[in-house]
């Protein structure tokens, strides 16, 4: 039987403005964890935030796990203020992670979406990988990627660091020597572009999707992702069938 795990916070660290890294002791029951999977985390003591929050695993080690979290509301603010020595109630790993494929691979991360790519990068470190990371102004986790990959490029919207502009602006140069597989995580607008790019280039793509969740385990059906289903479309569960989907499946709605 599965259960939630109460694990000790070994360390918390501020990486950038509103970005915190939380390292916890790896629960014994979490045998296999795949990059791209997430944990459903009780961010605070009872009351402050009610539902759990989905947070991707950033790095997995034998005896510890790390999460990298952006303070964006009540829940993540509470989570980022948790201290070393406290205990965190987590459920996971949940959902489907990234599927390894190809020898020449491209990782594209935008904002906090870079977090789940760290573990992926580590797993793929023997392949020919390239990593493109985009941020608004401050860059983070770049060194973590550099440990496993030489070709890490950074874009910032305001040019503070690396290329000035969106991370998708770095795609063009990759065109010359296209990858066999693309993995992406980041804001919807970025994922849309990656989807388009993969399609145009005929490169298989995996996208890590985000959707508001309640149960996180597939029971409540609030986290729907629109995907192709033959001629028609269907809603599937981001928490269960996702959060990583094949690029060709996902249907992005126009309005958004």
């Amino acid at each position: 039987m599965k259960a939630s795990s109460v694990c000790k916070i070994l360390k918390t660290e501020r990486l950038a403005k509103d970005i915190y890294k939380i390292i916890v002791a790896r629960p014994a029951e979490c045998h296999e964890i795949t990059a791209g999977q997430f944990f459903h985390i009780q961010c605070s003591e009872e009351g402050q935030s009610f539902l759990r929050r989905p947070i991707s695993v950033c790095e997995v080690e034998t005896d510890q796990l790390s999460f990298v979290v952006r303070k964006s509301g009540k829940g993540t603010a509470a989570l980022c203020s948790r201290k070393e020595g406290e205990y965190l109630d987590i459920i996971g790993p949940l959902g489907n992670g990234f599927v390894p494929k190809g020898e020449r691979v491209l990782l594209v991360g935008g904002g906090i979406g870079v977090a789940p790519l760290v573990e992926l990068c580590k797993n793929l470190k023997d392949k020919d990988i390239k990593v493109l990371l985009g941020f608004r102004t401050e860059a983070y986790l770049v060194e973590a990627f550099k440990k496993y990959c030489k070709a890490v490029e950074v874009a910032t919207e305001d040019g503070t660091f690396g290329y000035k502009g969106y991370v998708t602006g770095l795609l063009e140069e990759t065109m010359e020597n296209p990858p066999e597989m693309i993995y992406a995580c980041g804001p919807e607008i970025m994922l849309k572009q990656i989807q388009k790019y993969g399609k145009a280039m005929g490169i298989p793509t995996q996208l890590a999707m985000e959707e508001r969740m309640a149960c996180g385990v597939g029971a409540c059906l609030v986290c729907s992702c629109k995907v192709k289903a033959g001629e028609d479309w269907d809603y599937v569960r981001t928490c269960k069938e996702g959060p990583v989907f094949w690029g060709e499946e996902v249907i992005f709605d126009e309005g958004n």
Partner: protein
């Protein structure tokens, strides 16, 4: 020490214990079946079923509120036929009651679903006359005593299954609705379904839910649910399944004292997948401590 007798009798349906799970919060059991032994539940109310498959509402479908949440799933489900073929065999393995939550846009649809389920292994039907997330209809049924009477009677005539009618709290007087269900031939009343709520994203200046409004559940609504269970228990003669915000043994005991013969846990599963087991233990602990030998000893025993 003698074990506590946890069986409850819903007059026509016995449960091995009074702890059920609420429709729409537990899928068809598979997901939480990985966390708890479904054999230990009193009953499972499955995700709301419709005649045909439904895709449900656009996202976002969920918003958090103070000690509660809004949902706007919109009855996404594979349809009654797929339920019978693909989900019921799985659920039937367990020694727990399986209750089919049924939903229609018209009186005829309710009756058709009820009829279709009559020869299957489900232990009971739960008539959801109150889902606030279906646009085409449904709401009207649950808010008007006359309609509640009619739809209950109609379904009653189309099935011999144990019939539970689930009430909407978005009414003027829950007692008259409960009474109408009883008069229509319900064997049991379950309540409450979700209140209706809204939440707004002030940065984008639009509702958080794609559909604007949604069903409001969780601990926040418990005081309303408890009051309504109490009121209906004072009014009808048939058993009651209480729900709405239950997340601890203390909450569950409050509902039992107020007159519920069984209780259902919904939103609390999302926070703690093991909550049903903990509540079962907690109720037993309370009964032992107070010197009771059966959970039935506290049902409806609230002092004035």
């Amino acid at each position: 020490m003698k074990a506590i007798d946890m069986t409850v009798d819903l007059k026509g349906l016995t449960l091995q214990n009074p702890i059920m799970v609420a429709s729409g919060t537990f899928g068809f059991g598979r997901e939480y079946g990985e966390y708890i032994d479904l054999n230990h539940l009193g009953g499972i109310m499955v995700k709301g079923l419709t005649l045909e498959a439904r895709k449900g509402n656009p996202v976002p479908r969920v918003a958090e509120t103070p000690m509660g949440m809004l949902n706007s799933v919109g009855l996404q489900n594979p349809g009654v036929e797929a339920f019978i073929q693909e989900e019921l065999p799985y659920l039937s393995q367990f020694s727990t009651r399986v209750i089919a939550n049924i939903n229609g846009n018209t009186m005829e649809e309710y009756c058709k679903i009820a009829e279709r389920l009559s020869d299957t292994g489900v232990d009971a039907l739960e008539l959801n006359i109150s889902c606030p997330n279906v646009k085409e209809g449904g709401v009207a049924f649950g808010r008007d005593p006359e309609m509640v009477y009619k739809v209950t009677k109609c379904v009653r005539e189309h099935t011999n299954k144990y019939l539970i009618v689930k009430l909407s709290p978005n009414v003027r007087d829950i007692r008259e609705i409960g009474q109408a269900a009883e008069e229509g031939g319900a064997d049991c009343i379950s309540l409450i379904n979700t209140l209706i709520g809204m939440a707004i994203d002030i940065e984008q200046q639009k509702p958080i839910l794609a559909r604007g409004i949604g069903g409001f559940s969780g601990p926040a609504i418990k005081p309303v649910a408890l009051r309504m269970v109490y009121e209906v228990a004072q009014t009808v003669g048939i058993p009651i399944i209480g729900m709405g915000g239950i997340s601890s043994a203390q909450d569950a005991i409050e509902f039992l004292l107020a007159g519920a013969s069984a209780i259902a846990i919904g939103t609390a599963n999302f926070i703690n997948p093991l909550v049903t087991m903990e509540i079962n233990e907690g109720i037993q602990g309370y009964l032992e401590r107070k010197g009771y030998t059966s959970v039935r000893d506290i049902i409806g025993k609230l002092k004035a």
